[in-house]
Amino acid sequence: MPLVVPKMSQSVPEISTGMIMVSSLLLRVAFLLFGKYQDTYMDLPYTDIDYFVFTDASKFVFHGQSPFLRDTYRYTPVLAWLLLPINYWFDFGKLLFVVCDLVTGYLIIRLLQKYRKSVNWSLLWLWNPIVATISTRGSSESILTVVVMLLTYSVLNRQYALAGIITGLAVHLKIYPIIYIPAILLSIDPSQPFYQPFTKKRWIFVLTTLLGFTSLTGLMYYVYGDEFLQEAYFYHLTRLDHRHNFSVYNLTLYLSSYKGSSSLPFLQQHGLRIERLAFLPQLGLSMVLIPLKLATVNLIGCFFIQTFVFIMFNKVITSQYFIWFMCFLPIYTANSTIKPTRAAWLIGAWVISQGLWLWNGYQLEFLGKPDIFTNGIWSSSCLFFVCNSILAVNFINDMATQKQALVSKKDS
């Protein structure tokens, strides 16, 4: 791992791990209590609609039925199983997600300590209001971030069998962690020539990943049958999200879902549709090119950029998805060479362009403002996409600097 530590962290006193964890817990307790207050007394509910979906699904499981009886439950049944105590205590799930969110933070601290970085960087996760809000509202993403951080931890500790099992579990929970597999394989025995890709360690990782994935998936298939595969996996591959979201593709998907075909004659002639083509840049970059070039430089940085690019090119983007890359942010930032002023500009652009989209989204969703799709939602999605692209290029260039520093260090 490169050791290019920004000056910023050196000038700030180190906070103890205990203090960070206790303060982070208190922050989340405060968010939970505020959420209770908002749900009881305010018009706009705090609790995420998905939390009710999980709860309903868990109720079905509790009564010996399939969680997929709950419309829009498109997750592994493991989640509904994990949430069974919710049938006795409504807030159990939120507490579980908060615990997972804190465990993710603790694993971030452990990784920072492993690479002798300031644990203060973990505050980017643990004191992050977006992260705390998402878990306390009842979004389950933190279960996945724990698993992803565990797999990162075990790969970096060279525990490849364990890493494989956890990777299998992660892919079972959500499909997207599959993008990490090429990067992990490239980071295992990195000096292995590409024309001789098979090594024992790589085989161990691949086979244990398959074992982890197929054992859980097989069990779920045995219990719930085809419906499980359809709802938890195939739906996500074929979904056509016509409702507004951050994705640059969104309006095109809405219009093409109505029209039934592409609007562009060139695509029409070849029977192509943008929703199918969208996988090309997304997977080409996040699953092939970025792992190839970055996996051996800095694996966590590679994961961070892979996830970031995967989300920005996705056909559907909601705020919860940002959690997927945010769990890597503290460690990535600790190694980053991006200057604070530049970082401030980049973060500012990201926040403002996202805020602009949210403003337009609010105008449409809550005020029903007409004529806002093209000159509001779509244009701000494009701006957000451009900002994300600039950020992605900056992150990659930063990795290039880290690589140069690594090479110089080796040479010296």
Binding site: D71, P281, F385, S389
Partner: protein
């Protein structure tokens, strides 16, 4: 064929009765200051129907089609509560009595809904859903009652049309009831503000009534006169036993919480706390939800402070846009008994991308006390003057409706995209994605 017209006097009954002219033609006075409500019912024996439709109608034997125009104000209490509690738009209920099994029952119901939709010139496609023991189809589309009536008359019956085209064009609702061996056509005018003139005919009975109940009394006592053919006006006094009656002095205000956005909240506020007619009655709210709306029964089940029980008849897909859904649904909510206000969260489906915004309507729901009847009361009602074999009456309940103060429909505005932008949007999206992907790829490749 039996033909009966019932006129209801809202205001001063003495001036109406004094003004009735009964020579060769019967004239009942009405004006803007003293309007009447009118119901015409035409009963046709099965044997009088045309043979083309007789076969399918014989297979159905139970069919109820209700067509209601949009209305902006609700009239005062009448004796025609069953008309008042019907939804704006078109509702078709069918229970094919000749079905051999459930699949056949569904097939025949589908066919019946298609046939009726064609007959009454409804263009929106409607897929019926199972509602209690019936199949129901509902479309929020303002019907052309005159066209529908004429078409039904021409296709099923033929011959002279007993109602004038002027009256037909002013009718607020039209109902077709097929009940075993009889077909009934009912037309309803809630506010008649011009004198009503009838030619005397032995097959046409006309009655003029007013309400003689005490304020706050839920039992309806009516007085008036009846006449048929050349007979004299016969004084008539009767106690109306109805399955559907309206509770006086209490009203409900139906609104959408503004602004509606993509998630309209249907709000019902009662003018005062509704006392149940009997302690065992349940306060219910029925809402037919057109396919342009999403009703999430799971979400509603979480609103325990309002709802004791939530039943969704049919299926409401929670995600698809309106142009991919043809199935509507019905909500039946059992409310907390002491409620004075409640909200139903609904959601709008994405609409056809035709630019600007579209008006998406829903009929106001029916709020009522559902009270079980004993067998004696049921028998009394079934032999009563106003009895009609409608859907709710199959439940053997007496329904006490709480009238609405305003329009019989609510409208939300739905912002939609513009298909005219599709080439521009798609080409620029593709270009932007390509350029950005290349830039990111180039940055990575250089490493």
């Amino acid at each position: 064929m039996k033909y009966r017209t019932a006129l209801f006097i809202y205001g001063d009954e003495k001036s109406v009765f004094d003004g009735i002219g009964a020579q060769d033609v019967l004239t009942v006075p009405a004006s803007k200051s003293s309007p009447l409500a009118r119901e015409d019912r035409i009963e046709i024996a099965f044997s009088e129907l045309k043979s083309e439709y007789k076969t399918i109608l014989e297979k159905l034997r139970l069919l109820n089609v209700q067509l209601n125009k949009n209305r902006s104000i609700k009239p005062k209490q009448t004796i025609f509560t069953s008309h008042e509690s019907q939804p704006a738009g078109v509702r078709i209920d069918v229970a094919p009595q000749s079905a051999r099994n459930m699949d056949h029952y569904k097939q025949l119901s589908d066919l019946a809904v298609q046939m009726i939709s064609k007959l009454i010139h409804v263009e929106t496609e409607c897929k019926p859903w199972f509602f209690e023991e019936w199949y129901r189809g509902y479309i929020y589309e303002e019907p052309q009652i005159d066209v529908a009536f004429l078409q039904i008359w021409k296709s099923l019956i033929g011959g002279d049309i007993p109602v004038t085209t002027k009256d037909l064009s002013q009718a607020a609702s039209f109902e077709l009831v097929l009940d075993s061996d009889k077909l009934k056509l009912l037309l309803y005018w809630p506010l008649v503000d011009e004198p009503v003139v009838f030619n005397r005919s032995s097959s046409h009975e006309v009655g003029v009534f007013y309400l003689d109940s005490l304020p706050g009394d839920t039992d309806l006592s009516v007085n008036g006169v009846r006449v048929r053919g050349d007979s004299k006006l016969v004084p008539t006094s009767m106690y109306l036993n109805l399955f559907d009656s309206q509770i006086p002095d209490i009203y409900a205000n139906h609104t959408f919480v503004q602004p509606t956005g993509l998630h309209p909240t249907y709000k019902v506020s009662l003018s005062k706390n509704a006392e149940p007619p009997h302690p065992s009655c349940r306060l219910m709210f029925d809402l037919d939800v057109p396919s342009t709306f999403i009703a999430d029964e799971f979400q509603l089940e979480w609103s325990k402070k309002y709802f004791r029980n939530v039943v969704l008849y049919g299926h409401s897909d929670l995600e698809l846009p309106s142009y991919k859904v043809t199935e509507s649904c019905s909500l039946r909510l059992e409310l907390q008994p002491d409620i004075v206000e409640f909200e139903i969260p609904l959601h709008l489906r994405y609409g056809e991308p035709k630019g600007g915004s579209q008006e998406i309507g829903i009929s106001t729901g029916d709020l009522y006390w559902d009270c079980e009847t004993d067998s004696d009361t049921r028998l009394l009602i079934q032999n009563s003057f106003m009895y009609e074999n409608r859907i709710a009456e199959q439940t053997h309940s007496q329904l006490y409706h709480i009238g609405s103060t305003g329009a019989n429909h609510l409208v939300a505005k739905l912002a939609v995209a513009d298909l005219a932008d599709s080439s521009f949007v798609e080409s620029w999206t593709l270009l932007l994605v390509t350029i950005c992907a290349l830039l990111i790829g180039k940055a990575a490749w250089k490493l």
